[in-house]
Symmetry: C2
């Protein structure tokens, strides 16, 4: 009677008494992944070897506390764990980090651009009043002189209520503007990159929900797998957790949509229809996400066209 | 009997009946500021003119509703107001904006660098663990390749638990790192600039309190004038408002210091002495700020030396 047993340092044939009879040690952790090869070689010599019964495994592991094996056992274990952790990094992680960073950038540029507006108003309050677009504001202050801006707004110098600052003072404001402008550019690049990731990872979701809503759904579910496993009714309410629990606790009206609220189809529907459209949209998204997860044939375009023909585009 | 009267469009001699006898109109708003000149010329002709009694002014203003004067009156008024607003922008404003922006930058870079750390950990978690300095972290990720970083930390590739990302994925992280690094540089520049402003505007405060504490005191008081008018006991407690009101409302212990707590002299004092030192420090700061506001002879260095000789440096 003999047993065959493999662990991360090698494959072994064990005798009746569960002592090692013969062995084939692995050179690298990679070999462990191809352990069947080593096992085959051993089985040629001991063709009737059985696998080890479960209750014996603890006892067998004691063998490897022997100094001959222990340090290798320990090292390989760490290497293997590292490899597994490494390989667990996937597109899901990249997408989530990018989405979170876009959120962070929105938050931070908003803080900084407000400071910029208030600071630059010391010298040119009229620009602040006439230009609501934050991104454009940062760009103009970063790239244009006061004179050029006056010309653009068709104002003369004496119309301006702001003080003429010294060059060194203006320079600090421009530095801030340049940095804020760069952050806006970074945000755009991230969004472009996010789209590329999604085109590869979840093209059908992207097709039907768009980058922003697709990303938000993703963020709520944390991974494509979990998103694919959610029932469509849950997808319909992702992002409406607060209203949902209020409904459950106090009997207030149940929410009809969460992040789907901003989808164009829901947006332009009449109030009474919004709930129904959100429900249908969620069911189509649910299908799209499952096709994405199981790498099925592209279906997003067809789903989107169905929706559009039913509810108008 | 005749009266002399000036407003923003000119100087006038008024008759007994308060009608205009003769006038000298101003060409620009600038002339209004030199109105004494025009008045002198008029007084040569009408040497006995008196100023207008207060109760008549409302009636006289009615004269200028006449179409001959009205539009000029209106325009000059606006121009003058704009000029006054312009001139109200002073170093106080610049200092306050710079301080607030440094605060904003601290807040925002902190958000972004945390995102960077978590994102970069997908590919190189060991760097995140070994390097606590946020600024250095951003700089390294922005400027060094993974290989160079491995060398620096004396690690081999297989020691790393992070995944090897594609170049395009790494590129996005590096873009973020570059921007965060730039924000740190901007913050340093702002601090340098703030110091220059304070050296000119409140050198004595700067000498005795340093940039950070000086700026915080400034931020609480909103202007040098108000800071100079504060009693030293208030300066001692600036930044401790919460504790002070808790003391007043609930009878809890009264606070001994606000932003002064971080001053080196208070920091290294024994606990029992901290309150007393904060009190003395506040009184010296109060003197320094008043000298700053009234543009007196430099006294900061002397005050600082007195403090240091008394409490050790």
């Amino acid at each position: 009677m003999s047993y065959i047993y493999s662990n991360i340092i090698g494959s072994f044939i064990l005798g009746d008494d569960f002592r090692i009879v013969t062995k084939q040690l692995f050179k690298t952790v990679k070999n462990y992944q191809d352990r069947e090869k080593a096992e085959k070689t051993l089985l040629k010599k001991y063709p009737k070897s059985k696998t080890v019964p479960k209750e014996k495994i603890a006892a067998i592991l004691e063998l490897f506390k022997d100094s001959e094996y222990y340090s290798k056992f320990y090292q390989n274990n760490i290497l293997l764990t590292k490899q597994l952790v490494r390989n667990s990094v996937n597109t899901d992680n990249l997408i989530l980090q990018t989405i979170s960073n876009i959120d962070d950038l929105d938050k931070t540029t908003n803080i900084l651009v407000k400071r910029l507006r208030s600071w630059y108003s010391l010298t040119f309050p009229e620009l602040e009043k006439n230009l609501n677009n934050h991104e454009k504001f940062a760009e103009l202050v970063a790239t244009k002189s006061r004179k050029e801006l006056l010309k653009e707004l068709k104002l003369k110098d004496e119309d301006i209520m702001g003080a003429e600052l010294e060059k060194v003072d203006l320079e600090e404001i421009k530095l801030l503007a340049t940095n804020v402008h760069q952050l806006y550019i970074l945000r755009d690049k991230h969004e472009e990159y996010l789209k590329t990731l999604m085109e590869e990872h979840c093209p059908n979701l992207l097709e039907i929900a768009g980058v922003t809503i697709g990303a938000k759904l993703f963020e709520h579910a944390k991974s494509l797998r979990r998103l694919a496993l959610l029932p469509s009714s849950t997808i319909q309410l992702l992002g409406a957790e607060k209203a949902l629990f209020r409904h459950i606790k106090t009997g207030a009206k149940s929410p009809k949509y969460g992040v789907l609220f901003t989808h164009p189809l829901v947006q332009k529907a009449r109030p009474k229809q919004k709930g129904m459209i959100a429900r249908t949209l969620a069911s189509k998204i649910s299908i799209a996400v499952r096709v994405d997860f199981f790498r099925g044939k592209p279906i997003g375009k067809k789903l989107r066209e169905e929706l559009e023909s039913r509810f108008g585009r």
